[in-house]
């Protein structure tokens, strides 16, 4: 390029995407489903209704509901560890 200069890139490289392969279940029947309530309005109700639907219509084995104190901090590591150990599927929420 005529009259060009070299500059340092102020950006950091961001992830190219798929470092982790998302694992997917074959089916929901017989599985244990966990929820982390993000405390945003209505998510607790959605969680309750989803739990009923998954149990009745999709024959999941059981449901574990956990939460956190407030939406803008992560769930306690004890909650995360429990859900990872006990659940086949974990459902979280984001947004308003």
């Amino acid at each position: 390029m005529a009259n060009s200069i070299l500059i340092h890139n102020p950006r950091a490289p961001f992830s190219q995407g798929s470092g982790l392969k998302a694992s997917v279940l074959d089916h929901l029947a017989g599985k244990v489903v966990g929820f982390i309530d993000n405390t945003k309005p209505n998510f607790n109700h959605l969680m309750d209704d989803l739990a009923v639907t998954l149990l009745e219509d999709y024959q999941v084995r059981s449901v574990i509901k956990r939460g956190k104190r407030v939406q803008s901090i992560p769930a306690p590591s004890a909650v995360v560890d429990e859900l990872v150990a006990e659940c086949d599927l974990v459902i979280t929420g984001s947004g308003d």
């Binding site: 200069i5 340092h8 190219q16 998302a22 997917v24 998954l54 803008s72």
Partner: protein, 417 residues
């Protein structure tokens, strides 16, 4: 398997963040936005739709989903030397904050790096929400762009350390819908060495050290942390403090120990304190009576839709030298001022809207027990969580700076040159 349920307006944050964390294929199921306003009776139907979408994910498990692919990264870029063409590039590529920048040529970045004993490739922190590596060289690059003098580098290195501390909660501050910005307070000898203003108009424009240091941090949070407005930065309105906010404490006129000494550093140590804040409120108080001043400030702090009250936060008061003098002459120490403000700002929970009271109950139950409309809520968990800074020129003004709510300020020593 993990699934995230996102309201539609937040899909972009969800996808970008998932990609940043290396799992771009994280399944995201959408619900209408704003989800919180939907009536209870409409939710069972939405739940059935969500369940069906999750079940469909099982059926589609062999179908590849699009990953977020970002532009290939180069450490050095060839750009036009023409200032206006460079200006255009910065707009198109969103490298800047909307204002002109200085091109970060190798010579300028080297001059900046010469101020630090650290290696250019040293990673000071990984910054949320994209978790980019904030190397010393990248910090220097953004500092050059902001217009900083080379001597500012060590302040910025300490600031980056501070915002990356877990208690600061940078993730929350960067991705929130709140107008959360980062305020930097500089203490110790480096404040005068760099000419950081703690006097008249210290929260406003004019002094290069103030505005360029604050701005450099914003560029770092964007270019390295990845928080682009409307993208991962979900701020509904934002605030002008997101352009820049940095000042010194007016240590020479303060009647009390300065902030960094209060936090355990020696007077001779230079420090920077990062504060997550939501706005600024002018408090014009002509009273010359200490208790009346405190009462007025406490009353101004109390307001229903406040993040500090529902979280138990960390509100700040910038006290003018005149007000500080009056308080000190009445025999009040800084801690006593905090205690008076904490007691005086206790607010009846009934001032909140019902839904805000509901979230307060849930959030502060462990701390306060059962909360009713009659509970007097404290603005923070303890009086010592109220931050106080003496700054400003002449005048009867102090400033209330509400906190983000779920963030605690962090003070870090600045490397000696």
């Amino acid at each position: 398997m993990a699934v995230t349920v996102c309201s539609t307006a937040f899909e972009v944050l969800g996808r970008r963040q998932a990609a940043s964390l290396g799992c771009a294929e994280l399944p995201i199921v959408l619900v209408p936005h704003p989800f919180g306003s939907i009536s209870r009776s409409a939710l069972p139907k939405i739940a059935k739709e969500v369940a069906a979408q999750i079940a469909n994910l099982m059926a589609e498990k062999n179908t590849s989903r699009a990953s977020t692919v970002l532009v290939d990264h180069c450490e050095m870029l060839n750009v036009s030397s023409d200032v206006e063409i460079f200006h255009r590039l910065c707009i198109e590529q969103k490298l800047s904050d909307g204002l002109p920048v200085i091109p970060p040529t190798p010579e300028r970045v080297q001059k900046m790096l010469a101020q630090s004993a650290r290696k250019p490739e040293e990673v000071i922190a990984r910054l949320a929400p994209a978790f980019g590596d904030a190397t010393v060289a990248r910090i220097a690059t953004n500092a050059v762009m902001a217009g900083c003098t080379p001597q500012c580098l060590n302040v910025l290195i300490a600031a980056v350390e501070a915002i990356a501390c877990p208690e600061f909660n940078l993730q929350g501050i960067q991705a929130t819908t709140n107008p959360a910005a980062v305020w930097l307070v500089v203490n110790g000898p480096i404040a005068s060495a760099l000419g950081v203003n703690g006097g008249a108009n210290c929260l406003g424009q004019g002094v290069s050290a103030n505005v360029t240091i604050g701005r450099a941090l914003r560029l770092i949070m964007q270019n390295i942390g990845g928080a682009f407005p409307g993208d991962m930065d979900r701020a509904t309105h934002g605030q002008p403090g997101k352009i820049s906010l940095c000042c010194a404490e007016n240590e020479s006129v303060s009647p009390w120990i300065s902030l960094h000494v209060e936090r355990g550093l020696s007077t001779e140590t230079s420090s920077v304190t990062a504060v997550g804040f939501s706005g600024t409120l002018n408090m014009n108080i002509h009273s010359k009576n200490a208790h009346e001043i405190l009462r007025s400030i406490a009353d101004a702090m109390a307001h229903g839709p406040s993040n500090d009250y529902w979280c138990g936060g960390e509100p700040w008061i910038v006290i003018s030298p005149e007000h500080a003098q009056i308080l000190s002459e009445a025999g009040l120490s800084k801690n006593e001022v905090k205690q008076h403000l904490w007691e005086g700002s206790k607010m009846s929970a009934s001032r909140m809207a019902d839904k805000d009271l509901e979230r307060t109950r849930r959030t502060r139950r462990e701390e306060l027990g059962e909360i009713t409309a009659h509970t007097k809520l404290s603005i923070s968990r303890s009086a010592s969580d109220i931050g106080i800074l003496v700054a400003g020129g002449e005048g009867t003004h102090s400033v209330y700076i509400p906190g983000f709510g779920n963030s605690r300020s962090v003070t870090r020593a600045v490397d000696a040159i």
